[in-house]
Amino acid sequence: MRSQRLRSQRLLALFALGWLLLDFPLLTLWDRQVLVAGLPLLPLALFAGWAALIGAAAWICEADDEPD
């Protein structure tokens, strides 16, 4: 139960981070006419942030239940 509560809290924190990362005004940080490795910065940043969020969620969700 305790590990489930911890997982919930981690996911909640990730949710907050996700909103910050993928929403205005922080999103405008990437809104520049710059090419990174031939790709425009904004879509790259959006997809990278998105993928990072999924990776973190996978890590949190798949972690073994810690013993109570």
């Binding site: 997982r7 996911l11 909640l12 929403d23 405008t28 031939g38 425009p40 904004l42 998105w50 969700c61």
Partner: protein, 928 residues
């Protein structure tokens, strides 16, 4: 272009494949070998979120607004992060209360209200019709493009007579397909395993098809992603698509609104509720789906922007045709096969959505709109109603698809796919306040929910739905610009003069504001009734209730009932076999002997009501059960009392559990202690018998010599002297033995005296060697000493350490071969410990004895050629070494000598007796 028969045949073949999968899934479910009991299948089945709107519409949106297609997928990603809390709770509540639709959920929560359930159903149907229309439009457009080379445009098929409209036939075929999928039989839990399996397959197909087109555009038509983006950046008209357009004052608000909207839709769209909550097999699957489903969304979106930009770069058509780029790009470049694959992917997406949505909506309409009307005057006479229920659901499915077709004919031409979809999203977002509030706040009431939902829905109709119809030209558009009744403040897209927002954000803002405000405000107006309170407790505290199933937990019912009446009621709605199973299960849960012995008490009433809720919805089930039993209404005090009793019961059972656990623990400890005592007792017995045995040997010889001398007074003096010498030697041995036994006993009992001093190990070794030099010389053995120049002082008892060392050396002296013996003493140090080893070239210790030499009276070697000794030297040495925190070991290969050694920490704080024992038990015999 692709020939019409080929497209039709491929489409039918694909639908048949899905049907085969569903058939297999259903069959396996009946056999108890579910193929959907898997977290991956669960995650894939959520892919029903991605409809034709995603498949075709995202590209269209990307071609006209760039990255603005993304919030619709970022929202669900964020939403899934909450799934572990939110969705799991929804699943648990739905399972406990046998809830089968979102209308049922809201209706049950607010006091099993039929009116509320009906309102939710109405909103869902009205909100979903445009969405169904969208799917039909997508299939029709795709089909037309594929077979005739141009998409539906302007009049399109709308101008043709309706009976020649292929879209109508598509709608009817899909209706038939849905009926075959979802309403073949009536299930009390509304679970459709076959459908879930088919949707999981469908999700894979549309993903692969879309990825195939994406890869084709990116690497077939262009030279990779970099190429597309570089060329797009070079075009002034395409450059804005790669930025947010953040200069608009309300861009942030709009992005936020879209993300929020899609987050809410993830949970509250009827099809998502069906897949994620009703069809869930195991709550734990949510854990994997929480990241796997967002990953699915990411994958299906990776190529949206490349396809949109690639299409815009290749064709002159501009953003207007972008929704069909997925089909038109392969077609235009001479790849009709790929275009057909893409069409099947789109068909797949649309079919999946329609099947699940229609099944979900048909359950709602049947349970929450039609049945209440049908049974207004009680269950009435007559037989089994299961056939009627199935019939109603099938009718609803056909009606829903025809409504969708109608909307498509009316408004479908004027709007892009994405805009239609968002209208539906905004409708279901109205479910958020009562549903979320109902799960976490006990104060929400039926009146508050009715007011909130009603106002939210009305505002949605006025600010979003009506304008969409007006813009299609089917309604005078005057009220759009001048406001209702000519009042400018009532302009639907600038309500109260709020301007600057796009129509969606504007509508969402007003409708959710009114909805949530009235929900909270009206709820606080009046205290919740008894039934509202009891349902609130059951919903909000669902995780604190014991077993889901209905027999445990508080029962909010009082009155009189007859088991026969309830049985007859169950038979009418569930069929005879299912009713029999139900009552059997209840008898088993209550532990009574057969169905006849069941007493009609409150728990039976609740049990039957819950089972009926699965078939006809919570509100109707309650009404039906109420019609055959005499219920005494509960007041708020009763509810509180029942809750108190339940929580007291829970506390008692908790305390009992706690008590029995601690009893178990105590028993285990006692058992361990007893076992230990027994083994100590056995050791003591062994020790006693060994000691007496060892004492008897010298005693016997002393007695024998003494008797010889007594019997023969004439014995000559030399002989007598020799005998007396032997007697003295045996007595010495006896004394030594007794001393060692006493020593051992003292050490073991913890009464030994230990002196603490700084020990110079070099001096200690030297002394020991000198003391034993004579013995070695007699045996003709050579002694080598190997020690470092400087050894720091060690904190221990020097006499005891000398005793250990002497014991090891005298052991070695006993075992080395006479004449060519060699003994090597090695002193080694490191930062933590000092170690001393004594190695000899004797016969060594046989493997089977290596474990035993440190035990009392277990001398090495055969009994017959045992050398002199008491058998207590090594055990005493070991205990001394352990006393100072060290270990003692033996390394020996039989035939190659033995090496006894010990090590000691430089400074040892006296440990407790307990850890000394623990160390002794875990001591390694040979740390090689």
């Amino acid at each position: 272009m692709v020939s019409t028969p080929l497209v039709v045949a491929a489409s039918f073949a694909y639908l048949m494949l899905l049907f085969a999968v569903a058939y297999l899934g259903d069959r396996r479910a009946r056999e108890g070998r579910s193929i959907i009991g898997n977290a991956w299948v669960y995650a894939l089945s959520m892919g029903v979120y991605c409809t034709a709107w995603t498949y075709f519409g995202s590209v269209g949106r990307a071609a006209s607004a760039g990255l603005w297609f993304l919030p619709i997928y970022l929202g669900p990603t964020l939403g899934m992060l909450l799934a572990w809390m939110l969705l799991r709770k929804m699943i648990r509540i739905a399972r406990v209360h046998r809830i089968t639709s979102i209308a049922d959920f809201i209706g049950s929560r607010y006091g099993k209200s039929r009116l509320l359930a009906a309102l939710v159903t109405l909103i869902a149907v009205v909100g979903i019709v445009p969405y169904v229309a969208l799917q039909l439009k997508a299939i029709a457009t795709g089909y037309s493009l594929l077979t005739s080379g141009h998409a539906l445009s302007g009049g399109g098929t709308a101008g043709a007579a309706w009976w020649r409209d292929s879209t109508l036939y598509i709608a009817l075929v899909l209706a038939g397909f849905t009926i075959a999928f979802g309403t073949r039989h009536l299930d009390t839990t509304e679970r459709h395993e076959g459908m879930v399996a088919a949707i999981a397959v469908e999700s894979v197909v549309k993903l692969l098809a879309f990825l195939a087109v994406g890869a084709f555009v990116t690497w077939g038509l262009f030279e990779g992603l970099g190429d597309i983006f570089t060329r797009a950046s070079a075009r002034a008209d395409l450059q804005p698509l790669l930025s947010l357009g953040a200069e608009s004052r309300f861009a942030g608000g709009q992005w936020f609104a879209l993300t929020l909207l899609s987050t809410l839709s993830l949970f509250f769209l009827p099809r998502q509720f069906q897949m994620m909550v009703v069809e869930n097999v195991d709550e734990r699957h949510v854990r994997r789906a929480a990241w796997a489903f967002p990953l699915y969304l990411l994958l299906i979106n990776v190529f949206v922007l490349p396809i949109a930009l690639g299409g815009l770069l290749r064709t002159a058509g501009g953003a207007a045709d972008a929704e069909t780029f997925v089909l038109s790009l392969p077609l235009a470049t001479g790849h009709p096969g790929l275009a057909l694959v893409a069409f099947i992917g789109g068909l797949s997406a649309a079919t999946g959505m329609i099947v699940v949505e229609a099944v979900a909506v048909s359950t709602m309409v049947c349970n929450d709109l039609v049945i209440p009307l049908l049974l207004r005057r009680g269950p009435g006479p007559g037989g089994n109603l299961t056939g009627t229920l199935l019939g109603i659901r099938r009718g609803v499915i056909v009606a829903l698809l025809l409504l969708g077709y109608l909307y498509f004919r009316i408004a479908g031409e004027a709007y892009a796919l994405v805009s239609i979809g968002l209208i539906s999203f905004a409708a279901v977002a109205q479910f958020a306040p009562p549903l979320l509030g109902g799960m976490y706040w006990k104060g929400g009431t039926r009146a508050g929910t009715l007011a909130g939902l009603g106002a939210g829905f009305a505002l949605w109709v006025y600010t979003l739905m009506l304008p969409s119809i007006a813009k299609s030209g089917w309604m005078p558009a005057g009220f759009m610009t001048k406001g209702l009744l000519g009042i400018p403040l009532l302009r639907p897209e600038q309500l109260l003069g709020l301007s600057g927002l796009d129509s969606l954000t504007h509508s969402l803002l007003w409708s959710l504001l009114a909805n949530a405000g009235l929900y909270v405000g009206v709820s606080l107006w009046r205290a919740p009734s008894a039934r509202e309170t009891s349902q609130a407790v059951l919903f909000v505290d669902v995780f604190e209730r014991p077993v889901p199933g209905g027999v445990a937990g508080p029962v909010f019912w009082r009155g009189r009932a007859h088991a026969g009446d309830l049985r007859a009621l169950a038979t009418r709605f569930l069929g005879d076999a299912a009713a029999q199973r139900l009552f059997d299960e209840f008898a088993r849960l209550r532990g009574v002997d057969g169905v006849a012995a069941i007493e009609a008490d409150a728990q039976l009433v609740q049990f039957v009501e819950r089972a009926l809720a699965g078939a006809i919805g919570g509100a109707s089930a309650h009404a039906m059960v109420a019609s055959v039993v005499e219920e005494e209404p509960l007041d708020l005090d009763d509810v509180m009392r029942i809750l108190d009793e339940a929580s007291q019961l829970r506390a008692y059972s908790h305390a009992l559990e706690e008590k029995s656990r601690s009893l178990e623990r105590a028993t285990a400890e006692l058992r361990d202690a007893n076992a230990q005592l027994k083994s100590l007792d056995r050791l003591k017995d062994d020790f006693m018998s060994s000691v007496t045995h060892e004492l008897r040997t010298p005693l016997t010889s002393i007695r024998a010599f003494a008797e010889l001398m007594v019997d023969d007074p004439a014995m000559d003096a030399a002989q007598r002297q020799r005998f007396l010498g032997l007697v003295v030697a045996e007595t010495e041995r006896l004394t030594r033995l007794v001393n060692q036994v006493l020593d051992m006993a003292k050490i073991e009992a913890g009464h030994a005296e230990w002196r603490a001093a700084e020990v110079d190990l070099r001096a200690l070794v030297t002394t020991a060697v000198q003391t034993t030099a004579e013995v070695f010389r007699e045996r003709g053995a050579r002694v080598e000493v190997d020690m470092p120049e400087h050894v720091p002082p060690l904190h221990a008892d020097p006499d005891r350490l000398l005793q250990v060392l002497l014991n090891l050396l005298s052991n070695a002296a006993k075992f080395v071969p006479a004449g060519y013996g060699r003994v090597r003493i090695r002193l080694r140090t490191n930062a933590e410990r000092a170690s001393i080893e004594v190695e000899d070239n004797g016969p060594g210790v046989p493997l089977e004895d290596q474990q035993l030499v440190f035990e009392r009276f277990r001398q090495g070697g055969e009994v017959t050629n045992r050398p002199q000794g008491t058998g207590l030297g090594l055990p005493i040495s070991r205990r001394i070494v352990e006393h100072f925190g060290g270990r003692m070991w033996l390394r020996s290969e039989p035939g190659r000598g033995a090496c006894f050694g010990f090590d000691l920490p430089w400074r040892h704080d006296e440990g407790t007796g307990k850890d000394r024992e623990a160390r002794a038990r875990s001591m390694a015999v040979a740390p090689t």
